[in-house]
């Protein structure tokens, strides 16, 4: 047949394409036993320097690779213990905390950890003045006075002096945050360029003393940790931990089921339900200090009416959303302090009640409802919650026009206070209640050009009564009295504030069954692989 020659050549071309060879190529399954591989969306990393890092992913990495002066018990966060510090005392005037540093400990480089390193690390964070520096600035420590405020008083003693006698727990919790990580002064200064305190180098390198050391970071690709051979505590069972950037949930699930990763960190509710049925996989979860909420801009005259704010709080079907979109991913929570924080209010007075909401709207002068826009980040579960709320609000006659956008886009609009309703999430910066109280209940200057862009400011909510209460609470040294102050503030914000607080985030991970002792703490920087192992 004339065309047989063509067919033969076409077949030859197919063979030449190498498909057959490819399909027969070797494929490895299962990860090495001494290596833990996690799939995680880690494209938020912009720096590995503890003075600058502030994202979920880098906070976790710092938690496994750097040590701080102190830490807290993950089961009972009120119990604070020394890490690099052996002990500490608070001066009679309540302004100075004197730390005694443990002797004989080393950095990964082999250099000893001394008081000089501790003072340098904290001073450096203030002097570099990157985003998380405010955590130390709030104790009255500035670039100008930092060398006096934080100083080594001996080879193994450091004084931390504040401008006011703050509640000790407030200062101590702040010192558990990643900005207070202890860096290797000698190593960092060896890489100093133009007086940058080693910033240019440490952005992409490592100078810590934690159970793991950072070996490699390839942006949008991978972070590799290796066991620190000079770690002063119990050595990590794993030799290596790899965070692979895998943005797609479904891809994470496939890789987990295949055994090519050990832990999937970004699965959605449907994927979690599906993999939970796999006998080789288990689900692990932990409540986090992150809240999902609606911010109601008080520049919008309708939303500025107290009855409207109240009505919208009765127009969310918390239970239904919690059982569906937020299943596995969060629990209903309506106060600004997440469960687990000192003074957190855990009761949920608002339920879905369209009739009550309609009555409140009628009282406000909107018996037929009104129309508002909602800026929504195009990512789950936020989009899902927004769509559900759109349907809920409609039951009260409130028509919501959803404006989708990328994260930075919606945030830009939010920070310029040009939104009507913004749906977002907020994670506490450290374990002390002041972190959230300050942002939800304090707005010292409601002018458009104000420097403090708290959440209260972003929603143009003036806080003449609550603001001073927030400031007073950080000076209350009695924990019980302090807890009572925060409780009162939360109830006030729940009742009158421009926030419809919806859920407290639950972080969920799906793990292969052979992974043991992976810890998920209340904060992102205490998701720990330091004791994890594989059978």
């Amino acid at each position: 047949m004339r065309f047989s020659a063509f067919r033969n050549r076409a077949a030859a071309a197919l063979v030449a394409a190498g498909l057959v060879a490819a399909l027969a190529g070797p494929v490895l399954a299962a990860t090495p036993k001494d290596t833990l591989v996690q799939a995680w969306q880690i494209d938020d990393i912009i720096s590995l320097d503890p003075a600058e890092l502030f994202e979920f992913s880098t906070s976790e990495i710092a938690g496994n690779t750097y040590e701080r002066l102190i830490g807290y018990d993950l089961q009972d966060v009120s119990k604070i213990f020394g890490v690099v510090a052996e002990s500490w005392t608070v001066s009679d005037d309540g302004k100075t905390i004197a730390f005694k540093i443990r002797e004989g400990r080393k950095f990964a480089s082999g250099n000893p950890i001394t008081a000089e390193d501790v003072a340098f690390s904290l001073q450096r964070a203030v002097l570099l003045d990157k985003s998380p520096a405010f955590i130390l600035n709030q104790f009255g420590i500035t670039k100008d006075n930092v060398k006096d405020a934080i100083k080594a008083t001996g080879e193994y003693t450091v004084d931390f002096t504040m401008d006011r006698p703050y509640a000790p727990s407030f200062a101590l919790y702040a010192l558990t945050s990643s900005v207070a990580s202890i860096v290797d002064k000698k190593l960092v200064l060896e890489h100093e360029a133009d007086g940058d305190l080693g910033y240019g180098w440490l952005k992409t390198h490592y100078a810590g003393s934690g159970p793991f050391a950072i070996r490699d970071w390839r942006a949008n690709e991978v972070v590799v940790l290796e066991r620190n051979p000079n770690y002063s505590g119990t050595p990590a069972p794993l030799a290596r931990v790899i965070y692979r950037h895998l943005p797609e949930q479904a891809t994470q699930r496939i890789l987990l089921e295949m055994g090519d990763i050990d832990i999937a960190r970004n699965l959605g509710p449907e994927d979690i339900d599906a993999v939970a049925k796999n006998p080789e996989i288990r689900i692990q979860s932990s409540p986090k200090g992150t809240l999902y909420y609606l911010g109601l801009n008080q520049k919008n005259p309708i939303l500025a009416k107290p009855e409207v704010r109240q009505a919208l709080k009765y127009l969310v079907d918390y239970g239904a959303i919690g059982d569906t979109i937020m299943n596995h991913l969060g629990a209903v929570h309506q106060a600004f302090l997440p469960k687990g924080f000192l003074g957190a209010v855990n009761d949920t007075p608002f339920t879905f009640d369209p009739e009550k909401a309609k009555a409140l709207l009628a009282k406000a002068g909107y018996p037929d409802g009104f129309t508002v826009t909602m800026d929504v980040r195009s990512t789950q579960p936020v989009t899902g919650i927004a769509e559900a709320i759109q349907a809920n609000f409609a039951k009260g006659g409130v028509k919501v026009e959803i404006i989708p956008g990328d994260g930075k886009q919606t945030l830009t609009k939010y920070r310029s206070r040009t939104h009507d309703i913004y749906i977002g999430d907020w994670g506490a910066d450290y374990q002390d209640p002041h972190s959230n109280a300050q942002t939800f209940a304090s707005n010292p200057n409601n002018a458009d050009n104000a420097t403090a862009k708290t959440l209260a400011w972003r929603n143009a909510w003036e806080t003449p009564k609550l603001g001073p209460e927030v400031e007073a609470a950080i000076l209350e040294r009695d924990p019980q009295k302090r807890a009572a102050l925060y409780e009162a503030m939360q109830r006030e914000v729940m009742e009158t504030g421009p926030f419809v607080i919806l859920f407290q985030r639950t972080e969920v991970a799906a793990l292969r069954n052979n992974v043991k002792d992976f810890v998920m703490g209340p904060s992102f920087d205490n998701n720990l692989v330091t004791g994890a192992s594989k059978e």
Partner: protein
């Protein structure tokens, strides 16, 4: 007296001079086109970067920074300068090859491009190879069997390639070939066990591993690239086979084909030696354009297969208003596009004497 020889020499010299002039003119044309295209890209991307409603300072300082830190970083980034001044500074740096640093990766943009672009080149090249090696014969086959069931099947295959979302197809392919059959490697360029074994030279893993004699790494990289490449190849195939069919059909209707058949040439010779050869000239442009499109980076394919390519790099940079990265990436991709177009023009001239 022989006046012919000097005249012929003179002609040859004139022809040589004309050819040299033509070449120089062609080169000048190319450089001018490249310069105008890149300048246009620079202006458009710069303007887009400044009008998008995303605050680039947020990408650097995050949401929690104090007002003082925010203002300082804004000034450091030069965003407080007039727009025209910002453009002048960027332009002066860009023409010296300094695209600045990426905010997201902290690396110089040119270094990032050196890392991400080879991953895309490797994928696009293999994809185009697959698309061409299968698409061209399929297109010829469909043209020869025009109107038959086989022709319809080829057209449907092409249509499916055009219509099915690559994101979905990618996931299905992963499920089937990786998860169920275990024939290919999973997402990413390599298995973890093979990471760090090859020192990047060209950035093309297949080439680097071969050059360094790391056959294990080569085969592992091949098992990872083949699925996304086959997927992209399928999409190229859809386009290439349709165009091949149309071009060959057109040639088969020409008189010279009838003449060739009357002369008693075999059908295969008529199709492959005559019809396809004449169709090859425009077909080459089709293939080169298809390749250039893949070189822009297929964001969805790169996302599904966790492929660290230029498409994802530019997209995530844009989402974070990391404008140095967006501008640098766009310019490099633009330059590649223009160069490939020129290459296709040159090949066109080489293959088709009428265009010389």
């Amino acid at each position: 007296m022989n006046l012919e020889a000097p005249a012929a020499d003179h002609d040859r010299t004139r022809r040589g001079a004309r050819a040299a002039l033509g070449l120089a003119g062609g080169l000048a044309d190319f450089l001018l086109t490249l310069a105008i295209t890149l300048f246009g890209l620079l202006v458009v991307t710069f303007v887009i970067g400044r009008v998008v409603p995303i605050d680039p300072v947020l990408a650097v300082v995050g949401d929690r920074a104090s007002g003082a830190v925010y203002d300082r970083v804004r000034a450091e980034m030069g965003l407080d300068l007039p727009l025209i001044e910002q453009f002048r500074i960027y332009f002066m740096k860009a023409i010296t090859g300094d695209f600045g640093r990426s905010v997201l990766t902290t690396n110089p943009v040119i270094e990032d491009i050196r890392r991400y672009f080879p991953a895309t080149i490797e994928l696009a090249t293999l994809g185009t190879l697959i698309g061409t090696l299968i698409g061209v014969p399929l297109g010829v086959f469909a043209a020869v069997r025009s109107g038959t069931l086989m022709d319809q099947i080829v057209r449907i295959v092409g249509l499916v390639g055009y219509s099915v979302p690559i994101f979905w197809l990618g996931l299905m392919a992963l499920l089937l070939f990786y998860a169920h059959l275990g024939w290919v490697g999973g997402p990413g360029r390599l298995d973890i066990a093979y990471d760090y074994l090859v020192t990047p030279t060209t950035g093309l893993l297949l080439v680097d591993s071969l050059m360094q004699g790391q056959m294990d790494v080569f085969w592992n990289a091949f098992s990872h690239i083949i699925l996304p490449a086959a997927l992209l190849g399928y999409f190229s195939l859809a386009y290439i086979s349709r165009m091949t069919r149309a071009l060959v059909l057109n040639e088969l209707a020409q008189e010279y084909v009838v003449t060739a058949r009357i002369k008693g040439l075999s059908e295969a010779r008529v199709v492959w030696r005559h019809a396809l050869r004449n169709a090859a000239v425009p077909l080459l442009t089709v293939i080169v354009l298809s390749y250039a499109t893949l070189l822009e980076g297929s964001v969805l394919t790169e996302t599904v297969f966790a492929w660290p390519g230029i498409g994802s790099y530019i997209t995530s940079s844009l989402q974070n208003a990391d404008m140095n990265a967006v501008l640098g990436g766009t310019l490099i991709v633009g330059a590649a596009f223009v160069t490939l177009n020129l290459l296709s023009d040159l090949l066109y001239r080489l293959l088709d004497p009428r265009t010389r």
